[in-house]
Symmetry: C2
Subunit: 335 residues, 2 copies
């Protein structure tokens, strides 16, 4: 059974721990510097029964005094979205010779957007002979890795178009608030400026796709706009009158010259008629596939993080992407 060091005990870390325990992984150490977490039991913080592992403020302290047969094999890193902020965290773990799988969105394919930081991370990994992978449902799967898998049967690829449409009515209240449901356009734009509205990862998905297809993108665009309710909506956490924002729409495009080779369309709104994910590969053959109801993001991000462990442990040292580790599939800790 695989033994995990959990770094980051926020909501995502807690859910990943729950999933890991459900599947028989062992959480042997954990850390988070938050004062309301330090010193508490991992299980307790996750709303489960105690598992006898104390949350320490640092990686060093979390690994100190561990019996030899309790040493973790992998670190699961669920802390920040920003690559720059991730560097010291990676370094601290790398020094302990532990490979890392992380939910950091910018880590999914950082080579184009942040080449210097990417090289630095790669160097750290190679120095300590560990592998580092960023993954998640999106970025990490739906708008990047999964479409590349479909192109396995392509003789020719002219373009890739992906839409992820989600009805937020059924999602938890903080998610509905996060996407701006119930805000006036002015309030929406204010929140956008604060940076809390934005889905992080479209640029990284563009780059991963382009890299695999052998496209050198000459232009990338990204827009973010409110989805405005066309009529009164009653299905969400509060009534939304017509004319008010009910969600967010983000569109990213990648061009080679004048040709729009990649289109990523993301829309999450309260009152959306149908949730679905669609991937279209234009070319030979044309592939048009739709995931009915979409992939549940809450479950998927934590699950893919755990499922990636096997591939990361088998990987060569360095900063890896989903496309250059062994294919990630459901992975039972007992396999």
């Amino acid at each position: 059974m695989i033994k995990i060091l959990q770094v980051g005990m926020g909501p995502l870390g807690q859910k990943t721990v729950k999933f890991a325990l459900e599947r028989g992984f062992k959480i042997v150490a954990a850390c988070d510097p938050a004062p309301d977490k330090v010193g508490r039991d991992v299980g307790e913080v996750c709303g489960l029964k105690k598992i006898g592992v104390r949350i320490e403020p640092t990686v060093d302290l979390a690994l100190k005094k561990l019996a030899k047969n309790k040493k973790p094999e992998i670190a699961v890193l669920t802390t920040v979205s920003s690559l720059v902020k991730l560097v010291p965290q990676v370094e601290a773990i790398a020094k302990k010779k532990l490979s890392i799988v992380s939910t950091c969105e910018e880590l999914v394919y950082p080579w184009r957007t942040q080449p210097a930081v990417s090289k630095k991370l790669d160097k750290i990994c190679k120095k300590y002979k560990i592998a580092l992978l960023g993954t998640g449902v999106n970025p990490g799967f739906l708008m990047d890795y999964l479409p590349t898998v479909f192109t396995a049967v392509s003789q020719k690829v002219d373009g890739i178009r992906i839409s992820r449409i989600q009805d937020a009515s059924v999602r938890r209240i903080p998610f509905q608030q996060k996407i701006g449901a119930g805000l006036t356009t002015a309030e929406f734009r204010l929140k956008e400026k604060e940076g809390t509205l934005r889905h992080v990862g479209l640029a990284e998905s563009l780059d991963l796709l382009a890299n695999r297809m052998g496209w050198k993108l000459t232009k990338k665009t990204e827009t973010l706009n409110p989805v405005i309710a066309q009529k009164d909506i009653a299905s969400g956490y509060k009534p939304i009158p017509a004319g008010i924002a009910c969600g967010v729409e983000q569109v990213a495009k990648g061009y080679v010259g004048e040709r729009e080779v990649i289109t990523l369309y993301f829309r999450a709104a309260v009152g959306e008629e149908k949730s679905f994910d669609t991937i279209v590969v234009e070319g030979e053959p044309r592939i048009n596939t739709t995931i009915d109801g979409g992939v549940n993001g809450d479950i998927a991000t934590c699950a893919i993080t755990l499922n990636a462990i096997d591939s990361v442990l088998k990987s060569a040292p360095g900063l890896r992407t989903m496309s250059d580790v062994m294919p990630v599939t459901y992975f039972n800790s007992k396999r």
Copy 2:
């Protein structure tokens, strides 16, 4: 640009050669013992202009006298469906230190169905330090590898159900004949006995899926039946009256104890209302995805064979499967 030895110049080999040339791969050598092929130019046999490569009867002769800068890096093997018949062919290529990607259906996941032959092949590969991969659209992708990729986001997998439904009306006449369209039930059963009707690969797909999910199948079943026209059908290569076979239906099931964990449903018939491929992963989250129109099998098998080359060249020696080589994606020979 990658240089290929093409082994087998039948219809599939010819199409693969065409695709390879379209994409800038180099065919530097080719062999096929068929008297109507030996001595002819590869391009000519494929209905293209000559490429200056003579078809030789054996691998040895095809590689003899090749200038050093013309030596192939990979062998593409498109000959037989049977694993046993493949062994001497693999051995002849392995001795030349060439890794192999093949369309042999039984090679896709032979470890359960033919363990002794699998071990033998693996041993040959390791002896000569080459990698050997079986691939194709089905088996090789649609009913095995692709579904495992969807489980990357699974916290729990209870079952996998796949349907591949094809309207054969739009396919070439030999395909319509192959699936038994226009036969009486008695004629159909006769042809079934001859073994020419059967889609090869369902057992291999079952085993690949089970292996990745960590399921030890206790029972496997496979049935083959005619699809009987319910009314007169005029869309095919010839009119098919009601009561006559218009195609074939194959169902394979994998069980763990009493639980049917895998269902593979394959149906190809003239007059089928709609073509599509559906993959359902039962579990958390539930995933239900449909490829509208299905994946065009003629294009896909040749394309995935070429796309797999990059992953095979990067692979460790041995008998590999699609799940244990680097993710296969569209791969431009110039990358």
